[in-house]
Point group: C2
Chain length 562, copies 2
């Protein structure tokens, strides 16, 4: 079931890396979608085969009509199929390009409205893994004819931070902080929130810091279980989440994680970068591998949220982790959805203990954070690029070469055994053992990336996602700075009172304390995370080289020169 | 000074190895002749660059006319230039293709007679390294017009054994055992040699064996010195050879080694495989490297000859190692050149102590040796092929990748340093150290092949050369077997007497004992050599992996999670 794909961007192969040079607009055939590390193997029209970054292509396929009772046909659409499962199992209709998501591999697809072509949508999720927003939105599509969904559904997923930056095609405008009103909604509001929602900022050793609870919240995501509905036609995965506070497990589907993400983004997104949920990046050759990978990433996401003192202490997050029963969950859900302290209004709950900052200092801080996050984004992406290359080599050409070395030694040993000369069994046994050792090394080399590089890549991927959120967070901040700079003009033209100008500067100071607290939180996490992942990486690398050295030492001991 | 080259054979690039696919007859441009390991880097007409085996190409270049007083022009020739030095400094004219040798890099070139093109021959050897047969044969060419040389000079070098098999173009017919007369010269000769030339064969534990002296001859080739003649226009290298018998050094130029090789081939070639001298395979980026490499290989050749009980004990070999003065050397030289016990007549000096063998058994043994040497030739070539690949990867893409990993860590460390967050110098120092460690690993990886793979390759190259001689040695033997099989017919047609038929069978038995003794010598050397080289290889490999593990362990120790 080789799928064709269209090349979205020019890509020039680096020599010696098994890569394939492709041009924008060129059509290629996917020969192996399961390379991993962000690569697929494809063949061009000249028959050349090589690796291409999966972000650079879009899988297209002509659509066959109604061969199966599980398919429902829709006309008026041309669609791109999931490059891994070759099916579309979910889509949202829009009057322009719209992203759709494969329910098996959770990849975001592009569904352009185009000539009269019939789109078949598989209702029978073949592997059973399920994004499970599917059912809801499927129903929506059916009831509305599909053209009323442009403001809901997948659109939100597409513009979450920078994790998808390279594949983003549409700039939607749904981000809470960028509503018509902008940061002035907060800067000029009459009344600040009071009471239990209050978020204090203290002065710590490193500067402004959030309030950190004495015991840090944590949770374990485990035990994925398959459930089904619609008489077994649709199946989904339910995860068990156990927080260290109640120690009582609650169940959630991916859909609920996504709901939580949307709430956190709405509520905190202007002040705190909320990284997107793992979705389209998740791939896996088998269903179990896919589920395991997604669970690992959901765990990573939850751990990061638990570690955040503001997020973890929020009502909606606590609800998610420790609702008592279905009724409790539904009530809490409804309440969270009605929360009005969202977008820039989150700043109205923040109370710094220190004195107000000068707008000039605020701007300097902001510039510094902006420079740093941009630079770190570049650094992280460099590591990811190099890591992908290395992964490819370690799982491709390198083990093949060690295998060939091993085979060559063993073949020579066989030849020597046939010599008819007596007393050379020590040599031939030793040569065979040396050959087998190199075959074992081949396997060690191929398996190693999953043991060390994997975690280095995961951590950097997480940071890439986090860093991709900063431009938005910093954007809100910069808009506020600009507003305050306009202060005099606004007073002169009677748009605001002199008192409001003073209030704006004070509130900008509050926003700056929030940004600084968040940066300090980011830095302390970053230092911990990179220390930890480098330790893990180097520890496994040491083991790897030591294991090889030990195997070779044993092989060496079998040779004798009389 | 990029040289063009013509592709001699189709070569298909293996993906991921930096190789370039080329077609027979295609013209490519050499972009780097100094890759080593039997590869050159070239560019095709489409601008693609990659590695091509140097055996697969032939360097061609248009010849400019008379720009320099050191050049002498010859017309009527088209010539191929040395791909390393871009000059021809020696050639022999023939009425068909003739090999010529570059005096700088000792590569054999092809000089076809063709349209009226002027060949310029540089009389001024630019780097000074010198094959130094040059002067003699240069004189010959001048005096005879060049067309009388077809039976002497380089022709001999071209058909030495299998080392050059892949680049052989002409089947000359100079091998002593294949003269008009063939093995019957010995099988039917009247009188066998007697006296001090006698070569006894004893029955040892492993079967027939040569007589081994109590102390094994050995010698050290060292101290290459530049000499010059023709008022400094020609220079050459003289090596000092010190045998363990006299412990008195003698000096020889490459030319003398070649003379010795020719004598040994003439005298023993029918019974004992005499490997060719290192020549065209020798390459080096710098003159010193070239001289060192040639010396290393001359040492290897001399050691192998010293280890051979028959060769090392021969008068000509002893003369080479321990002549007393110039007069002694010249007298000995003349005597050796007049030796008539050459070609198949060497068998007339061999005296086995065991009883005669049945011709059927002789044939079985011969078949077995033939199969074994063919199989080992394949095995050795496989190791060489795999070794070349591995060499290329270890000195090319792999260290580049480790370097990039190292740079990525160091870049991230720089970014972290710019965070403005206090107290992360432990992390940034550790990250920088880890980055530097990977740069060091890059260097270790790139340097490693010279420490281990080099010797594995050299030993297998030596064996490839040796094994390439066996088809000729076994060919003489098979011709003798066929002759003896014809015995009855020859008697019936009165070509030979019944007594001569008996003598032929007896002498074939002697030849078989010689072949068996030689095989047993080969086997015992082989077992020693492969044990030794594998020990060396694995020892260095263990050191390599241990060094890396230790470096990484140190890098690891710098990270801390509080």
């Amino acid at each position: 079931k080789a799928a064709n794909a269209q090349v979205l961007y020019d890509f020039t192969a680096e020599p010696g890396n098994n890569e394939l040079t492709v041009k924008e607009g060129e059509t290629i055939t996917i020969t192996n979608p399961n390379i991993g590390g962000g690569w697929i193997e494809a063949q061009n029209s000249r028959g050349e085969i090589g690796l291409v970054p999966e972000d650079y292509i879009e899988v297209k396929q002509k659509i066959a009509v109604g061969q199966d009772k599980h398919f429902t046909s829709y006309t008026g659409l041309q669609c791109t199929f999931c490059d891994a499962c070759n099916q579309i199992t979910h889509f949202t209709l829009m009057d322009s390009w719209t992203p759709s998501r494969c329910t098996v591999y959770s990849r975001t697809l592009i569904v352009p409205v185009s000539k009269n072509i019939t789109l078949k949508v598989c209702m029978h999720s073949t592997t059973g893994a399920d994004d499970d927003e599917w059912d809801d939105e499927w129903d929506d599509v059916k009831s509305t004819g599909g053209y009323a969904e442009s403001e809901t559904g997948e659109g939100g997923a597409m513009q979450r931070g920078g994790a998808h930056a390279t594949s983003m095609k549409i700039a939607l405008n749904k981000f809470p902080g960028f509503s018509k009103s902008g940061p002035e909604l907060y800067l000029l509001c009459k009344q600040l929130a009071k009471g239990k929602d209050r978020l204090p900022i203290y002065m710590g050793e490193v500067g402004p810091v959030w309030f950190y609870p004495e015991t840090q919240l944590d949770c374990v995501v485990a035990d994925p279980k398959k459930g089904s509905k619609m008489y077994g036609l649709k199946s989904y995965i339910e995860y068990q989440i156990t927080p260290n506070t109640t120690n009582r497990p609650v169940n959630h589907r991916y859909k609920h994680f996504d709901w939580l993400y949307e709430r956190l983004l709405d509520k905190f997104g202007s002040a705190i970068p909320i990284p997107s949920l793992p979705d389209k990046q998740v791939t896996g050759r088998f269903e179990e591998e896919f589920i395991k990978m997604r669970m690992e990433r959901l765990q990573g996401w939850m751990t990061r949220m638990c570690r955040h003192p503001v997020v973890s202490n929020s009502e909606v997050f606590q609800l998610f982790l420790s609702y008592k029963d279905e009724k409790d969950w539904k009530t809490g859900k409804r309440k969270a959805e009605k929360d009005e302290t969202v977008g820039v209004m989150i700043f109205s709950t923040i109370e710094p203990e220190a004195s107000d900052l000068d707008p000039v200092e605020v701007e300097q801080k902001c510039e510094q954070f902006s420079r740093f996050t941009k630079a770190m984004d570049d650094g992280v992406k460099e590591i990811l690029t190099v890591g992908h290359e290395h992964w490819k080599r370690c799982t491709g050409p390198l083990p093949k070469e060690y295998q060939r070395i091993g085979k060559a030694f063993q073949n020579l040993s066989s030849v020597f055994t046939s010599s008819g000369y007596q007393g050379e069994s020590t040599l031939t046994d030793a040569l065979t053992a040396a050959g087998k050792t190199y075959e074992e090394i081949a396997q060690l080399v191929a398996e190693q990336p999953r043991k060390d590089l994997h975690f280095l890549m995961e951590t950097n991927n997480e940071y890439k996602g986090l860093l991709g959120c900063f431009p938005d967070t910093i954007g809100v901040h910069k808009a506020a700075i600009d507003k305050v700079k306009e202060g005099d003009k606004l007073v002169a033209t009677s748009k605001i009172t002199p008192q409001e100008k003073v209030t704006m500067a004070k509130r900008l100071s509050t926003m700056s304390y929030a940004l600084q607290a968040e940066m300090n939180h980011f830095h302390s996490n970053r230092i911990y995370d990179y220390n930890r992942v480098m330790q893990l990486y180097l520890e496994e690398q040491v083991k790897f080289y030591e294991t090889i050295a030990e195997k070779l030492r044993q092989a060496h001991s079998q040779f004798t020169t009389m």
